[in-house]
C-alpha cells in the first residue's frame, strides 16, 4: 500500500470533497471535523512521501497502470515533495483556523465553503504532483474555479474582484493551454519527461519559442507578476479571511513552482537560459515587481491590501532569483518559496484575526492591539521581522542566498531592489507596530464604545495556528541548513 501513497495524497481530499456535502446534509458541524481529518491524513501522507523521496529518490506513479507517454504519470521529486508538504500543512493550519471566522462571516454556507476549500486544496496538490502537461491544466482549472467561488463570497466588492480574476485567470489558463497545444503539435506528447527528451532537436523551431512565451505569459498572469498583478490586490482583500489565508500564500507559489518546473524540467536550461533571453527578462521583471510591489504597498491604508502588495513584491524575489540562473540564487529562490508561503499565511491569519475582532481592515484599526491581543501581535512581529529579513527568522536566509546569487551574477539592479524593498518593509511594519502601540484611549475608530471594549485575545482555534506559524518561521530559520542540504540542494535543477 505504501507504493500508492503519492496517489492518496490527492485522492483523499478529492473524495472527501465529494462526500462533504453529503455529510453536511447529516450534520453541519461535522463538516469541519471531516475537513480536518482529510487534511491531516493528507499532511501525514505528504510528509511521509517527502521522507521517502529524500531517502529513496524520485517516485513515479502510473495512473491506471498505463506507462508514461500513453497514460498519466505522477512524479514526486525533492522540489514537488517539498511543495506537497507546504501545501498540505499550510492548508491544515488554515483549516483549523477557519472555524470561527467562517462561522462569523458566512454562517449559512459552512458546508459548501468547506467543500470548496477541499477542492481548492485538491487542485493545488494535483497541480504540484502531476507529471503531465494537460493534467496540470485540468487541476489548474479546479483550483481556479474553487478560488473564484471562495473569493466571490467575500464582502462588498468581492464579486467584481472575483469577476476580474475570472477574466484574467481564464486568459492565463488559456495561454497555458495554447502553449501546451504548441508543444503537443511539435512533439506529439504531453508527458513532461517525454517532452523533455524530444524537445532538444526542436529548439530552433519558432513553435517552441512561441510556446515558451505563451506558457510563461499565462503563468505570469496566474502568479501576479507586476504588470499583470491587477487582479490580485482586490481579490485577496475582499475575500473572506479564511479564503484569503488559503489562497494568497499558495496560488502564487504554485504558479512559481510550475514556472520552475517548466523552465528546468520540461525545457532544458540550455533553452531557457542560453537560447532565449528568458532569464534576463525574468530578472528585470523581478526587479520591477519588487519595486512596484513595495512602493504600492507603501501607499496603502488598508491592512489586507498592503499585505497583497507585499505578496506581489515577494513574487518578484522568486522570479528574479530564478532568472539569475546560478545555483546559489536558485537555492535562495526555492527556499524563499517555502519561507514566503509560511510568512504570507502568517500575515493573512493575523489579518484575519484583526478582521474577526474589529470587523474592519484599515491600518487605523490596529490601534491598541498590542495591549488587547498580545499573543497575536507577538506572532505578527515575528512574521514582520521575517519579511524584513532579520536573523534568525527564516526570511533572512533566503534573502541572504538571493543577495549572494545576485552578487555572483553581478546583477546590481536586483541587489539594489532587494535591499530597497527590505528597507520599505521596515517602514511598513514599523508603521503598523507604531499604530499598534499607541497607548491613547481608543476613540474615533469605532462609534460604539461598548463594542471596542469587547476586543480581546482571539479564540484558541484561531490563535494556535497563528502561533504555530510564527514558531515554524523561527524553526525553519534555525534548521535552514538541514532543509537546504536535504531538500533544496537536490531540488535545484542542474544548470
Amino acid at each position: 500500500m505504501t507504493g500508492q501513497l503519492p496517489m492518496l495524497i490527492v485522492v483523499i481530499p478529492l473524495i472527501s470533497a465529494f462526500l462533504c456535502p453529503l455529510i453536511g446534509l447529516w450534520r453541519k458541524d461535522a463538516c469541519y471535523y471531516w475537513l480536518i481529518l482529510a487534511l491531516s491524513a493528507c499532511a501525514v501522507g505528504s510528509i511521509d512521501t517527502l521522507v521517502t523521496v529524500i531517502y529513496g529518490g524520485t517516485i513515479h506513479y502510473h495512473l491506471g497502470g498505463w506507462a508514461p507517454p500513453f497514460g498519466i504519470e505522477y512524479v514526486v521529486d525533492h522540489l514537488n515533495g517539498m511543495m506537497l508538504v507546504i501545501i498540505s500543512v499550510i492548508s491544515l493550519a488554515v483549516a483549523i483556523y477557519s472555524k470561527r471566522s467562517i462561522e462569523e462571516e458566512l454562517p449559512e454556507k459552512v458546508v459548501y465553503f468547506y467543500t470548496a476549500f477541499l477542492l481548492q486544496v485538491t487542485g493545488f496538490l494535483g497541480i504540484v504532483i502531476t507529471g503531465d502537461l494537460f493534467n496540470l491544466y485540468v487541476f489548474l482549472e479546479i483550483a481556479s474555479l474553487a478560488g473564484y467561488a471562495l473569493i466571490a463570497i467575500g464582502e462588498d466588492g468581492a464579486p467584481l474582484a472575483s469577476f476580474r480574476y475570472i477574466v484574467m485567470g481564464t486568459i492565463g489558463a488559456c495561454f497555458y493551454l495554447l502553449g501546451v497545444g504548441y508543444i503537443y503539435v511539435s512533439t506529439g506528447s504531453l508527458n513532461m519527461a517525454d517532452v523533455h527528451q524530444i524537445l532538444p532537436q526542436l529548439y530552433r523551431s519558432k513553435v517552441i519559442i512561441t510556446a515558451v512565451s505563451f506558457l510563461l505569459a499565462g503563468l505570469a498572469v496566474k502568479m501576479a507578476l507586476f504588470p499583470v498583478h491587477v487582479w490580485l490586490p482586490d481579490a485577496y482583500t475582499k475575500a473572506p479571511s479564511a479564503a484569503s489565508a488559503l489562497i494568497a500564500p499558495l496560488m502564487t507559489k504554485i504558479s512559481l513552482y510550475v514556472m520552475i518546473r517548466l523552465l528546468f524540467t520540461v525545457f532544458k536550461p540550455s533553452l531557457s537560459i542560453e537560447l532565449l533571453p528568458v532569464a534576463d527578462i525574468m530578472v528585470w521583471a523581478g526587479v520591477i515587481a519588487i519595486l512596484g510591489g513595495a512602493i504600492m504597498a507603501l501607499a496603502q491604508t488598508d491592512f489586507k491590501r498592503m499585505l497583497c502588495y507585499i505578496v506581489v513584491a515577494e513574487v518578484g524575489y522568486i522570479v528574479g532569483g530564478v532568472g539569475l540562473a546560478n545555483a546559489t540564487a536558485m537555492k535562495g529562490a526555492i527556499l524563499h518559496i517555502l519561507n514566503d508561503a509560511v510568512m504570507t499565511v502568517g500575515l493573512f491569519t493575523v489579518a484575519g484575526i484583526v478582521v474577526y475582532k474589529t470587523g474592519r481592515h484599515d491600518l487605523s484599526d490596529c490601534k491598541d492591539l498590542f495591549k488587547k491581543m498580545p499573543f497575536t501581535m507577538a506572532a505578527f512581529v515575528v512574521v514582520a521581522l521575517s519579511i524584513i529579513g532579520v536573523p534568525p527568522t527564516c526570511g533572512f536566509f533566503s534573502k541572504w542566498y538571493l543577495i549572494h546569487g545576485a552578487v555572483i551574477a553581478k546583477h546590481w539592479a536586483f541587489l539594489a531592489a532587494l535591499l530597497l524593498s527590505s528597507l520599505i518593509s521596515v517602514i511598513l511594519f514599523f508603521r503598523i507596530i507604531e499604530i499598534g502601540y499607541a497607548f491613547r484611549p481608543s476613540h474615533g475608530w469605532h462609534s460604539g464604545g461598548g463594542h471596542a471594549a469587547a476586543i480581546d485575545e482571539a479564540p484558541l482555534s484561531m490563535l494556535i495556528p497563528t502561533i504555530a506559524i510564527a514558531i515554524a518561521i523561527i524553526l525553519i530559520g534555525l534548521y535552514n541548513q538541514t532543509i537546504l542540504s536535504n531538500i533544496i540542494a537536490p531540488a535545484v535543477p542542474v544548470l
Binding site: 494537460f134 466571490a152 467584481l160 469577476f163 477574466v167 481564464t170 493551454l177 497545444g181 503539435v185
Partner: protein, 137 residues
C-alpha cells in the same frame, strides 16, 4: 503564397477568432460581453487543437469499424495489426478538447453566477458604472 495561406488555413482561422475573443475580453465593459468574449476565446483554442487532429485524405471518425461484436478475444487476434492508422483521425486532441469544453462551460456557469451577484448588488452590469458606485460608497 496562396498555397501557403491555404495549407495553413486552420491557423489563420484560430488566430483570428482568438483575437476577436481577446479583444472582447479586454475592451468591452459589459460583463456579459466579456463572458461572450471568453467563450469565443476558448473555443478558438479548441478549434486549434481539433485542427491538429486531421489527417489529409479522407480520414474518418476514430471509431474502429470491426469493433462491432468484437470482444477481447477477437481483438487479440486481428485487432493489433488490422487497424490502418492513416484512416482514422488522431483521437488524442479530441479527448483533450472534450475536457476543455467541459471546463469552458463550467467557467461560463461560474462567471454568470458572479455576474448575477454583481447585478444584484449594484443593479448594473457596466464595469465603469460599478467602479463609480464602489468609489462613491
Amino acid at each position: 503564397m496562396f498555397d501557403f495561406i491555404v495549407s495553413y488555413y486552420n491557423y489563420w482561422v484560430f488566430i483570428g477568432l482568438m483575437m476577436v475573443g481577446f479583444y472582447a475580453m479586454m475592451a468591452k465593459r459589459n460583463l456579459i460581453k466579456k463572458i461572450i468574449g471568453m467563450n469565443i476565446f476558448q473555443s478558438a483554442i479548441i478549434f486549434f487543437y481539433i485542427s491538429t487532429s486531421v489527417k489529409k485524405g479522407g480520414v474518418t471518425v476514430p471509431i474502429l469499424e470491426h469493433g462491432h461484436a468484437a470482444h477481447a478475444a477477437d481483438g487479440l487476434e486481428h485487432g493489433a495489426h488490422a487497424v490502418d492508422i492513416m484512416q482514422y483521425a488522431n483521437p488524442l486532441p479530441h479527448v483533450l478538447m472534450l475536457t476543455a469544453i467541459v471546463v469552458m462551460v463550467a467557467t461560463l456557469g461560474v462567471a454568470l453566477a458572479v455576474a448575477i451577484m454583481i447585478y444584484r448588488r449594484y443593479n448594473t452590469l457596466e464595469e465603469d458604472e460599478i467602479i463609480k458606485l464602489l468609489r462613491r460608497g
